[in-house]
């Protein structure tokens, strides 16, 4: 599956400034794995030591928070958009 990943500015240091990158993956976990092999150090910024998503990072698949789906095990379809978005405060 080929899909688009939207990279927030704090992570663009890994992607040479690119706002979006294309990856091949079947699950959200694979998206992160593949981004990490392409951009070493990427995963450590997004995941904690146990491999789970960091507390202040949200990942959206086509606009839906993956925690409402199956977290990192969520399957992704061809052409889907993954957005990695830092949490922001209440309002």
């Amino acid at each position: 599956m080929s899909l688009k990943v939207v990279i927030p500015s704090p992570l663009r240091k890994f992607t040479a400034g690119a706002e979006t990158v294309e990856v091949q993956a079947a699950t959200v976990q694979e998206v992160l794995d593949n981004l990490d092999s392409k951009y070493p150090g990427f995963r450590a910024s997004v995941c904690d030591e146990s491999g789970g998503l960091r507390r202040f990072i949200n990942i959206y698949l086509d606009g839906e928070d993956v925690r409402f789906l199956e977290n990192l095990a969520t399957r992704v379809n061809d052409g889907a958009e993954i957005a990695i978005v830092p949490a922001i405060s209440g309002g």
Binding site: S45, F56, P86, I88, G90, G91
Partner: protein, 412 residues
């Protein structure tokens, strides 16, 4: 003159200079302003404070501004009201209300945070400001941006109350309603801030913005003649206010303004239709499971609370608890507060009153506890939540009046 040391990540401890920044660039944790407390302690004495005007700026050494504030000069200093009539209904002998429903300029506690954030935007010489909001923040950013002469971009969920929409538009802000809930609005704002050089108060101005909430804690302690309450009930949306009031009281202890031995139990209140922090506290964890909000308490309808982790940590640590209430209980809470104390609060205030009632019934708040309820917003903004019977219509004749009310009272 500023007493700010810098910003520090609450998660990994990394330090940053004062700049426009949404969160830690390493782990995305929220950033906290840190201060030179020893220098502040010399200046901020009870005597010095007693002679300053009653606004948030009397505590300005503990707020992250470099220069004198230019807008929001009347913000804060809201009444702490002794509430014996409500106390009798709830079963609390020693009850007070921190009444931010009369805050300036837009009648909610958000005036405290935007006063700090918009002044900070002026210091950073930003060309525009904005926010993601469930309503009260929208009103307050719009008003303070207008006063500062800055254009504002304000994004809200499409289904907010009419008066919260009108009371944002009137200031000439660019109001955008988004198809989706607050969490969707949040996500969009995070991406807007990534692309445009603007200051969004709860995104890249967040480290400064959030500090404004501490002033609720400062004011309550000073109004109680430099005592911390035994119990405080605070409504929770993102959860930031609760942890900032906690920080505020801790700072007063550190500065020697209140005794080290006083302990406040923090109680968090949410609507049952959006209770992710209450749910975490009940499960005995700090890990928040996000929810899809469905409640009339729209100002609290944040399903993925960014500061929920901290609220869910602090509440049990302080010896407190978190509870929720139904929409019917919210309306009953609004009514009870209005009928007993003459204070008309919005849905979030109804949540606070209804939850306080439960906490007393559960025995968590004891009758003798010096208890403060944080009433954070004004009832005129959420009229849609109420279902009041239409008033009686009569002819302008005494007989018509007496037909209905005659005999109800003895007239001397």
């Amino acid at each position: 003159m500023s007493f700010v040391k810098g910003l520090q990540c609450r998660e990994c401890g990394r330090e940053y200079p004062v700049k426009l920044l949404a969160g830690c660039e390493h782990c995305f944790g929220p950033l906290e302003a840190d201060y030179h407390y020893e220098a502040i302690a010399k200046k901020l004495t009870r005597d010095a404070l007693s002679s300053r005007p009653k606004t948030i700026w009397k505590y300005r050494e503990l707020l992250p501004l470099e220069s004198e504030p230019k807008i929001g000069l009347a913000t804060g200093g809201t009444p702490l009201v002794r509430a014996d009539r409500l106390g009798r209904k709830l079963g609390i002998d020693n009850l007070y209300l921190k009444n931010d429903s009369v805050n300036s300029p837009t009648l909610s506690f958000k005036d405290r945070v935007t006063a700090v954030a918009i002044n900070k935007a002026l210091e950073f010489k930003l060309e525009a400001v904005g926010c993601a909001s469930t309503g009260n923040l929208a009103n307050s950013v719009a008003a303070n941006a207008a006063a500062a002469g800055l254009p504002s971009f304000i994004l809200i969920p499409h289904d907010l109350e009419a008066s919260k929409i009108a009371a944002t538009q009137i200031y000439g802000s660019r109001l955008i309603t988004v198809k989706g809930n607050y969490d969707a609005v949040n996500r969009l704002c995070s991406q807007i801030v990534d692309r445009y050089p603007w200051g969004f108060v709860n995104v890249n101005l967040r480290p400064f913005y959030a500090e404004g909430s501490k002033t609720i804690g400062y004011e309550i302690a000073e109004q109680l003649s430099w005592h911390a309450p035994d119990a405080i009930v605070i409504p929770m949306a993102g959860g930031a206010m609760l942890s900032k009031v906690y920080k505020g009281l801790k700072e007063l202890q550190r500065l020697g303004l209140i005794s080290e031995t006083e302990r406040t139990r923090f109680y968090g209140a949410q609507a049952a239709g959006c209770n992710p922090i209450v749910d975490a506290v009940r499960r005995g964890t700090r890990d928040i499971r996000p929810v899809k909000p469905n409640t009339i308490a729209k100002s609290l309808a944040i399903g993925n609370p960014a500061d929920g982790y901290y609220a869910a940590s602090l509440i049990p640590q302080s010896g407190g608890w978190a509870e929720d209430c139904t929409d019917d209980e919210i309306v009953a809470g609004i009514q009870l507060l209005a009928e007993t104390e003459g204070i008309f609060t919005e849905t979030a205030g109804g949540v606070t009153v209804a939850v306080a009632q439960k906490l007393v019934k559960q025995g968590r708040i004891k009758p003798k506890d010096l208890t403060v309820l944080a009433i954070t917003g004004n009832g005129l903004k959420t009229l849609e939540a109420l279902d009041l019977a239409p008033p009686q219509v009569i002819e302008p004749k005494l007989a018509a009046f007496e037909k209905i009310f005659g005999g109800a009272y003895h007239v001397a």
